[in-house]
């Protein structure tokens, strides 16, 4: 079969027209999705922090509670999990609360704290106090902070 110049023009025209239709449809869909997104007020995210309807500022402040921990007794390390040896588990609310509780309890030899962005909501901001029988620490454990009385 021999292709004529006319067939060639028709094929190119078809591709251009098809592309234009697809682009228009894509842009329309993107505008529609954008419209849906803008119906949600900017500063307010859907509830996902245990169901709390929070502002983005709330979220920043909640995450900030994982960052600061001052202790003269415990050596604190980020991204470390100490498995086992738990004798108490409680909702600390902040890393500092976890550190303070461990400091005040002579039997607390170490602690592990799960951060505000832990993928399991029930573990977020939970503190585990540990006696002397804990296992070796696991490093590069994202979302966890651990501390030990004395040195590591």
């Amino acid at each position: 079969m021999k292709l004529t110049r006319r067939d060639l023009f028709a094929a190119v025209g078809g591709i251009v027209l098809g592309g234009a239709i697809a682009t228009t449809a894509g842009l329309s869909y993107r505008a529609y999705r954008k419209g849906l997104r803008t119906q949600v007020p900017k500063d307010i995210k859907p509830a996902d922090e245990g169901g709390w309807v929070l502002s983005s500022n709330d979220r920043k402040e909640i995450v900030a509670v994982d960052q600061v921990a001052e202790s003269k007794i415990l050596a604190v390390r980020q991204e470390v999990d100490i498995p086992g040896g738990d004798y108490e588990r409680f909702e600390a609310g902040s890393l500092q609360n976890c550190v303070t509780k461990c400091e005040q309890d002579e039997s607390c030899k170490a602690f592990t704290y799960a951060g505000s962005r832990h993928p399991v909501p029930e573990k977020r901001r939970v503190c585990w106090l540990k006696g002397s029988s804990s296992d070796d620490p696991v490093h590069k454990a994202k979302h966890y902070v651990s501390g030990r009385r004395g040195t590591w």
Partner: protein
């Protein structure tokens, strides 16, 4: 005059074809028993933390059985699909096991109050929710009835959206925060024990049983009283409306007889 309650009115009408009549009285358009409705009640489906100085309705101290509630404004009701609901507020104690709540309380200068929230909700009318004749007879000799009453997603979605709006308003005004417990909201609704709308009133005999004067369509001398008349259910207890409709009907009958 038929005044036998939300189920009884429909039950008596549905049983009226026992004598071999072609159709039960008032049921020429297969409307008797349809639109069976309840009041979905969803207890402890949300939590609210507010500033201590936020003005909220209070329960009168001598009326323990009453509960304070907040209701959406007309604009919000329209946005919720026209479904009426109320949010009952019960003051509680801080939950120190919820670290976000603890954080939010600690941040509210001047003190905080916490509340458990209950939703009481209207139910959209669906013709598939209905009372029908069942098998056998009850001890009073009336035909037994069976009921189908499904609370569909419109009611749950309205409750969810209303709580979300409440939460957003509290953020905008910096007066507090709301927590929505979806597990409870979508799984633990119960009925308020108010059975309504099984012989609802309306202008069109194809979609209702009685007219606006509580008279059964096409029957000159048959009237109905009770919650079975309700053309919409609202969220509030039905008794006051039942009494008002009965008083109105009484006036009309007295007027007609004189």
């Amino acid at each position: 005059m038929l005044a036998a309650g939300g189920v009884g009115n429909a039950q008596i009408l549905l049983g009226s074809d026992d004598g071999g009549a072609a159709t039960a009285v008032g049921n020429e358009n297969d409307q008797v028993g349809r639109y069976l409705s309840e009041h979905p009640h969803i207890y402890n489906c949300a939590r609210m933390v507010t500033r201590a100085d936020l003005a909220l309705p209070a329960t009168p101290s001598d009326r323990n059985e009453y509960r304070a509630a907040i209701v959406p404004d007309d604009e919000t009701v329209e946005a919720l699909g026209g479904l009426d609901l109320s949010i009952e507020i019960n003051e509680g104690k801080p939950n120190d096991k919820d670290s976000v709540e603890t954080f939010l309380i600690s941040r509210l200068a001047g003190g905080a109050r916490v509340f458990d929230l209950n939703i009481r909700c209207a139910m959209p009318h669906k013709p598939s929710n209905r009372v029908e004749r069942g098998e056998g007879r009850d001890p009073a000799g009336l035909p037994r009835v069976k009921a189908t009453c499904v609370i569909d997603s419109d009611a749950f979605h309205a409750a969810d959206q209303c709580l979300q709006r409440l939460g957003e308003n509290l953020i905008r005004t910096e007066k507090g925060r709301v927590r929505i417990n979806n597990d409870v909201l979508y799984r633990e609704a119960v009925g308020g024990g108010h059975i309504m709308s099984t012989t609802r009133m309306g202008n069109d005999p194809r979609t209702s049983v009685t007219d606006r004067d509580c008279r059964v369509h096409n029957y000159r001398n048959l009237f109905i009283a009770g919650s079975s008349l309700f053309a919409s259910t609202g969220y509030a207890n039905p008794t006051l409306t039942i009494v008002a409709l009965a008083a109105r009907l009484g006036d009309k009958l007295a007027e007609a007889s004189s």
